[in-house]
Homo-oligomer: 798 residues x 2
């Protein structure tokens, strides 16, 4: 619970007021900087002490054989692990020959600040050496949002109480020693010394290292240059070895004198380009950084973030922690995506090596929905990354005996590397999640070029997968058997409802897309009969429902399963997967994470309001939230079904997952999906933002659906505040407009900030927003409800 | 198809008339000798060429970590692999400095004969050296059935066409080089150089090696002594190194002169006993062997086998191949069990390292039923082995959150080492199979000491497992969810019918046992309420049945699954598990091996005759027989439902599995269960031998159930011959009697060879057999039936 010990609650920044080595690893995650291409964990400048040193380039990974004691057909043979690349952030300091290490001497003060508007991590420290000399240290670090190859550090040391002999060693370090991996199977396997040296260079104030991975043959180049400022007598020398390049600056500081340096670092990697090409690339990046200069980089950072906040800020009145948390969340989401540019957004972004640096469905189902409405320009590149892996997905489907594309459950390079098929291969819903993300993006932005290009490919090949995966029974109902839905405490089920409704949506979206782009459809050999079959199949998809209980079933037969013995389960037996065998979890009614509840969020029009209420009440006492993906979904449906205080409790859990380290693994990196969940809980939950299905075309033909045309379906809101809040306001991008929604206890005000008039559905009332006239609409009182209980001991955290 | 190329069809022996190196590895399996404690593959005396060198001691194994790319709770961490122990059968020969190797020079003749009545493997060969000298070689090899530590070889070489300088090297060789393991996941992992040398010794004609395994810390000692006979000038010398001990005998033979040696070998192993103790043990065994002498060992062998054949011979008139095959099968089953003595019977016996040398449910469900009726004295020791592993099974159940005992799916030392839980951990039926084997043994022998001792422990702890594994639904039906039955192409199902009816039988047998032995029950804290609950649970167990189709379901919902596309499956795509992913097999109607059909064999009174016929007709077209366990069960039910020619075809498939290498993996060892299946198909199938359930107590109280008392349930037979056969006769042990059943086309004759009068049910007619008066009863004609088809391309082999 690091918030409680050393973090200050402030609306626009995360400030650590003292240093607690016990939470150092967590702090490295929350203070991580990234632009989606390059990520630096918030390691101390001097490198040690550390929890986990981390410098990552999106896509750089090593491959390794996946071991199986008993192998099976179609098991992936090769694993992928994101590696710690050359560390460009190390700046070691010696004061009168004492290495600056917070574990020795006396730390008089230490503060770190991550500012969500400047995008800079600042640090100040005052330290007295074991021999009694005090220095003051200031550093500012950024990973440039404007220049994707570039990171930079401004570093200053000042003598305080007497003359000090100072040596500053600014380094590039490859193959840093990493701590041993945890025994928790969910934590990344660490690969030691993954980088083979190819070239090292040091001259003047410039450093460069080039390495290559052994198996994946990815070349990584890093270069650095420095501006040095110090009193007379300041001198420096550069040197290099295969795994380290170092600029050593020495100076004798009188009290009050300072030694400063600015370190520009440029990164590049490629599995294709030659050593000279890559060398030139990083030198070019470095030249650009020098030319921009430190102040220019700061300005660029600020400009990018100003634009982001204008599109997507969320204001929360009544809970300062959540106010801070939602901005922390949005900041990190934006960082993870800003310059990812046809690479994945891993489950941990570029903040740590949890889950081996793999991307999952989290990206399309949690992260992209938020970015679609807050930073839509970052979304298409991520979807284009998925599209670029289509050849792997087509191969994988063929290998599995299926048509279309089967995208991987977890991957870096597009090939499946999930070694446990019941929760990997057969979690086919990832395909519908990808299709939905593509369709959602087009719905929100009207990006028709994307829709007729990669979007259509994604929709068609995933639709074909569903058609071949399922089968019609004697009565014509279409069943999808042997699949695993989002809830990983059930597996290999018949007719997982989430999967089925998402598959339906996928089939219909594909049919809509081919109707809109017949020429492209012809290229993919989609004829009228195939598209008609998709619609027909969508209409016949089985939706499991228990007449006895009057609720939907998570999968066929789910409600007939034995209930889990929650009363007999001790608190320390969570997460259950570490204390009970899969077979026992699978055969009983216990839900790891929102599954049917998520279906009600992603496919709201498949359920009546009454069904939503009954379903939520049924599944809530079965859901243990052993996944960080759950709380936000439960928040959204709790809000929709009128349990506003419960919605708020779940909102807080989602929001504080990393700041309060609720799952005790923030050290491995931030939970991108839970960060996204903060926004989902607030905007989709309390704000009630939903897409309406079946109330107008999902994707408007080019030219149609312009300003206020009748064809356009209204965007739905249903805002209501929990008792804690006095106000919730957010900017949101939707249907190519920019909107502001300002929700008070009694009324909500909708302002169209940018774009053509837009129909909005507010608690069942339609209003057409006009740029000139904000609409203020009353918030009806919440219905009387009885809040469903959670399993014993599993009430919302925080 | 080795039978067709070089094996002669003879009733009492297996004779190889020429040497085909292409089938060398298979021939090593079929010519393997064993006594259940020690096994020698049929490797050539001179060691090379070989398919797989193999010397095994039952229970000797090495452990190794089981790798998981994604581990899970309760996954076994340690694997076990049977190892090739010190080879005591190597006798190398040099003729005029040419090593005798069949790949060089000229092989004039070569014959090997395994005699099922003498228990000796004989070999004769005439060979001309590359330089033109011809020698004649004769060897006889036995693994003693009477002296379990002992094996022996009589070896003679004779100069034929001129003087020959002869050197014979009789060796003990440890850590033989093994061929690389196959890529087939079902074939054993081979562990290289598993033996660490501890002691080597050579003196006079005596040799000794002692080794120890690195991880399992099992000490293996082997000693040999020799009797040498040769012309004047014959001399010898012994020497030893850590991994080899060697007696070299040299002689110059004139034409017609012979050099002979008898090699006695004694083996011992222990994980407990010290090096000196084990050394003394093997020297003691050796002394005993010398004292018995070669002829004495031959006599002992013959005596053991005479007794076995008197109890269990099967005569088949009309198919000479099957006549040979059934004796081959019974011989190998007897070899595998004779002196196993509280060790397992592995799936391959001691004939190869297939399946890592593990024992499965095959033992209790296929091998023991045959031995129970042919060599019952061998059965209790095997069941005592299971009982000795009860502590592991109790631990495993606890780990899985269950009561009672959960015996392993595959093991050597009693700990689970199945690394794939859907076909390991949750194949809980192995527990009912063990209970059934114990109960069956007591039923057949009246061994009340076993019943009130280890039998009761096994029955009670497995009953408790079932009670905790299942649960009652709202209507009171007892369901067992999340389990895998015998069919490995379905998994993690609800209410697998085989499992459920076997669990019912288990619960009732436990309740009967505690009623008979209340004092022992009290020791296990089984009160009246618990036993009553077992009976009540047994009565309420769910039996899945499709009203729509009028057939039982293999598991709940099975008949609603999508049918497998047999028409679209090519012949080379079998076995399916090597060409299709598990999830696709699991979710479709395709049956690897008899499952429901096996239930009809093991629990015949759970089904009416009509249900058996309909069920067999339904499942036959779905069953692909990708397991060698299947054909015999299908044979038995085909016979019972009147498809006599189909029954015969399956009998042949089971019988010729190894002789004809039908699954192309006899090289890895013999299929013990399929060997047993030969007897099952003939005696239970065509003979119709069944236990009646519910028609009298399964186990009679001591003193009761003696000669012809009314309490005793009749033993059921329903003999009928297929068109091919003119006669089928077998001796069988049942209810502590010895019976002979002689079946002709029109009548069957029952003779009580030994024991008190016994009621027999013959095609519905009860006759009480009296020692004085054999009963001859007419065989009614078979009903008219329509033979169900097999899946495309999956007709019975042979």
């Amino acid at each position: 619970m690091i918030t409680h010990t050393c973090f200050a609650t402030e609306p626009w920044r995360l400030r650590e007021t003292s240093l607690d080595l016990g939470v150092l690893a967590q702090s490295e995650s929350v203070f991580a900087l990234s632009n989606g291409h390059l990520g630096w964990r918030g390691n101390l400048d001097e490198g040690e002490p550390h929890g986990l040193p981390g410098s990552y380039l999106n896509g750089v990974h090593e491959t390794h054989p996946l071991p199986y004691a008993e192998a099976g057909y179609g098991y992936p043979e090769s694993g992928q692990t994101a590696i710690n690349v050359t560390d460009g952030k190390v700046i070691r300091l010696l004061v009168d020959d004492h290495p600056f290490d917070l574990r020795y001497g006396e730390l008089l003060s230490h503060e770190r600040v991550l500012d969500f508007r400047t995008g800079v991590l600042g640090r100040t420290a005052e330290w007295t050496t074991p021999s009694g000399r005090t220095v003051r240290l200031t550093s500012h670090r950024l990973v440039s949002l404007a220049q994707r190859a570039v990171a930079a550090i401004s570093y200053t040391v000042e003598a305080v109480d007497g003359p000090a002999g100072i040596a500053v060693q600014s380094e590039l370090v490859a193959n840093e020693q990493l701590p041993a991996a945890s025994g928790d199977p969910r934590v990344a396997a660490v690969i030691d010394s993954p980088l083979l040296p190819e070239e090292h260079h040091a001259h003047g104030t410039r450093l460069r290292l080039v390495h290559c991975t052994a198996s994946s043959r990815q070349r990584v180049a890093v270069a650095a240059d420095h501006l040095v400022e110090g009193p007379a007598g300041t001198s420096w020398a550069a040197e290099s070895e295969p795994d380290v390049a170092r600029l050593t600056v020495t100076a004798n500081l009188a009290p009050g004198e300072r030694l400063s340096l600015v370190k520009f670092v440029s990164y590049g990697w490629s599995a294709q380009r030659s050593l000279p090409a890559l060398r030139d690339q990083v030198e070019g990046g470095l030249a650009a950084a020098r030319s921009t200069g430190w102040q220019g980089l700061l300005d660029g950072q600020r400009a990018c973030l100003d634009e982001f906040w204008a599109d997507g800020d969320v204001e929360v009145e009544g809970d300062a922690q959540v106010q801070q948390a939602v901005r922390f969340a949005l900041f990190h989401l934006f960082q993870a995506a800003a310059r990812a540019e046809e690479r994945a957004i891993p489950a941990k972004g570029l903040t740590g090596t949890g889950y081996d640096g793999h991307a999952f469905w989290d990206t399309e189902s949690f992260v992209l929905p938020v970015l679609t409405h807050t930073a839509p320009d970052t979304v298409a590149p991520v979807l284009r990354w998925r599209h670029s892996t289509l050849p792997s997905a087509l191969d994988r489907a063929r290998q599995l005996g299926l048509a279309g594309a089967a995208f991987p459950w977890r991957t870096i390079n597009g090939a499946e590397c999930s070694a446990y098929w019941p929760a990997g291969t057969v979690a086919f819903h990832v395909n519908a999640d990808i299709a939905a993300a593509a369709e959602r993006y087009v719905f929100a932005t009207g990006d028709h070029a994307f829709h007729r290009g990669p979007g259509l490919d994604l929709l068609v090949h995933t639709a074909r997968l569903w058609r071949s995966l399922g089968h019609a029974d004697a009565d014509g109902a279409f069943h999808i058997d042997g699949v695993t839905g989002p809830d990983e405490y059930s597996a290999v089920a018949r007719d997982n409802l989430y999967t089925n409704v998402m598959a339906r949506r996928n089939l219909l979206a594909a049919a809509d897309a081919v109707a809109l782009h017949p020429d492209r459809a012809a290229e993919l050999a989609v004829g009228a009969a195939e598209a008609a079959d998709w619609r027909d199949t969508a209409a016949r998809i089985a939706i499991p429902y228990s007449e006895r209980l009057g609720v939907h079933e998570q999968a066929a037969g789910f409600t007939d399963q034995q209930p889990w013995d929650f009363e007999g389960t001790a608190e320390e037996q969570y997460p259950l997967l570490l204390h009970f065998p899969y077979f026992d979890l699978y055969r009983k009614q216990v839900v790891k994470q929102a599954d049917l509840v998520l279906a009600m969020l992603t496919c709201p029009d498949e359920f009546t309001d009454e069904e939503k209420a009954r379903n939520f009440a049924y599944y809530e006492p079965l859901t243990v939230r052993d996944s960080s993906l759950s709380a936000c979904c439960q928040a959204a449906l709790a809000a929709e079904t009128g349990h506003l205080d419960l919605a708020w409790a779940y909102t807080r859990e989602a929001a504080l997952m990393d700041l309060n380290d609720l799952e005790h693994n923030t050290r491995d990196g931030l939970h991108m999906a839970s960060l996204a969940g903060t926004w989902i809980a607030l905007v989709q939950g309390l704000g009630g933002l939903r897409r309406r299905y079946g109330a107008g075309p999902a994707v408007l033909p080019p030219g149609a659906g312009g300003p206020g045309e009748g064809a356009e379906a209204p965007v739905r809101f249903a805002p209501r505040l929990p008792a804690t809040l006095t106000r919730l306001a957010f900017n949101v991008r939707v249907r190519d407009r920019r909107l502001r929604v300002d929700i008070g206890r009694d009324a909500a005000r909708y302002t169209l900030l940018e774009g053509a008039p837009l129909p909005v559905l507010h608690h069942g009332t339609t209003a057409v927003l006009d740029p000139q006239a904000p609409a203020e609409l009353p918030v009806p009182p919440a219905p009387e409800t009885v809040e469903p209980p959670q399993p014993k001991g599993r009430a919302p955290l925080t």
